[in-house]
Symmetry: C2
Subunit: 300 residues, 2 copies
Amino acid sequence: MSRLTKEEIAEQFKAIQDHICRELEAEDSIAKFQEDAWQRPGGGGGRTRVIENGKIIEKGGVNFSAVYGPTPENILRALKLEQADFYATGVSIVMHPQSPMVPIIHMNIRYFEMSNGTYWFGGGIDLTPHYIDEADARHFHQQVKNVCDKHHADYYPKFKTWADDYFYLKHRKETRGVGGIFFDRLMESDEMSFDQIFAFVKDVGMLFAPTYRYFMNKNSKIPYGENEKSWQYHRRGRYVEFNLVWDKGTKFGLDTDGRTESILMSLPPQAHWTYAHQVKDNSPEAKTLSLLKKDINWLA
Amino acid sequence: MSRLTKEEIAEQFKAIQDHICRELEAEDSIAKFQEDAWQRPGGGGGRTRVIENGKIIEKGGVNFSAVYGPTPENILRALKLEQADFYATGVSIVMHPQSPMVPIIHMNIRYFEMSNGTYWFGGGIDLTPHYIDEADARHFHQQVKNVCDKHHADYYPKFKTWADDYFYLKHRKETRGVGGIFFDRLMESDEMSFDQIFAFVKDVGMLFAPTYRYFMNKNSKIPYGENEKSWQYHRRGRYVEFNLVWDKGTKFGLDTDGRTESILMSLPPQAHWTYAHQVKDNSPEAKTLSLLKKDINWLA
């Protein structure tokens, strides 16, 4: 049985982007995505869609891209290859909500293929609440686990640990948020065919809209004040630190002359830094900090 | 003639820190530096001094540190050494002013020594105006050139070019500001003795206070409004991008488990990001962007 082509995968990723944008616009009720279609000088291009100043979303992006051409030097070196063409396609999302009570969310699904026959899938979804609510974290992880379990019993435990390690601010000794899943270099094996892996990746993509709509709807009704806004701006500062210092996708994009505005759509509209910022003992902020740890079993 | 010891160099760096803090407090007239004295678990420590919410300075730091111990793995690898102890001392400064009409400034002087006999001096000073004024840029470069010329005719042209290359946001194709000087691995030679190099490094340190007081005093009197504040926040976003993505000192500090709050005192109190932020044709913002280029001879 012939497997899907890279172009067919890109088309299905585009459809997932369309679905997510429709769903987020419906839930936000005010803001609409603005699209920038762009071409990559070396080959391919993308559809960057940004939403700003909504009722619930303050700034967010849902990006699709499919780029190709000669493989960048640093990838060739890492893979110990002389020369090869590459094809990379994916959907990448970050949402910064207006309310500090609604979590920041990130999702990415991607497919990479090289002319020498190498290919893999990657992706992930993780939640970064400004205030950690254990019931919310449990709900999120349960949704993610349900999708994983449908495809392979090992996926959730393996990819949950991977997310804990990946979404980690080493210099702060903090996780970015409550984690989720992260996976990379997924290839077909005796257990999982190419199409089965792609079905899992698509399910991760399709999980995004209902999961985030749930938090947009429920948490945007929670009242907050100046103190919570200030905390949100400081947590956004941490989000900036993760994305610019540690995130491998951002680093790769900036190093390989990617489209800067599409890569950095992940940055918040506004972030604050205060030297040695302190929180009050037994406050919701202190509780959040205490839960920014690896290896928490949110489903326990 | 015996040269200064590393401890004597550190003492003189401390004196430069004291001098700069006194001068900045005098010019600001309201805010005072708060000091955090800290110890490094592996050896040594520092005096982090932060000033916040002043009349002219919104947030800034003047840090001194002298740290030592076994050389971190990544340095050993870069220098192709098996094992060696290191000693590093320096003063590092970043100032974010309240007014968008007052430039951001950075200065650093440092000395590094290893138990195998290797040592070097490094440093730099560069100016990042939110709005570039050519007369201000000329004044700044003239002061820097005067200090360089006192020590070696090659220093200004060589270190000015080095600053253009170092303080550069590759992903934006922008320099950070109007540059200044940057130098690293300065060692004694037939032309310059150890003490002569140290005298140059100290002069760079002593140049900071009068130079920045000049801009604090003159530019804080220039009126501005909401438009200029918004531009300042966006330029601060670029400053964050440089420091977290490209700055080698920040990267080294965060990679080697340095004191995060001291390293990241360079971040602004507040920064903004807008997707594909636009400026009006022929505006002061457009003029500034057009001057964020390498190889401008500000003294021409």
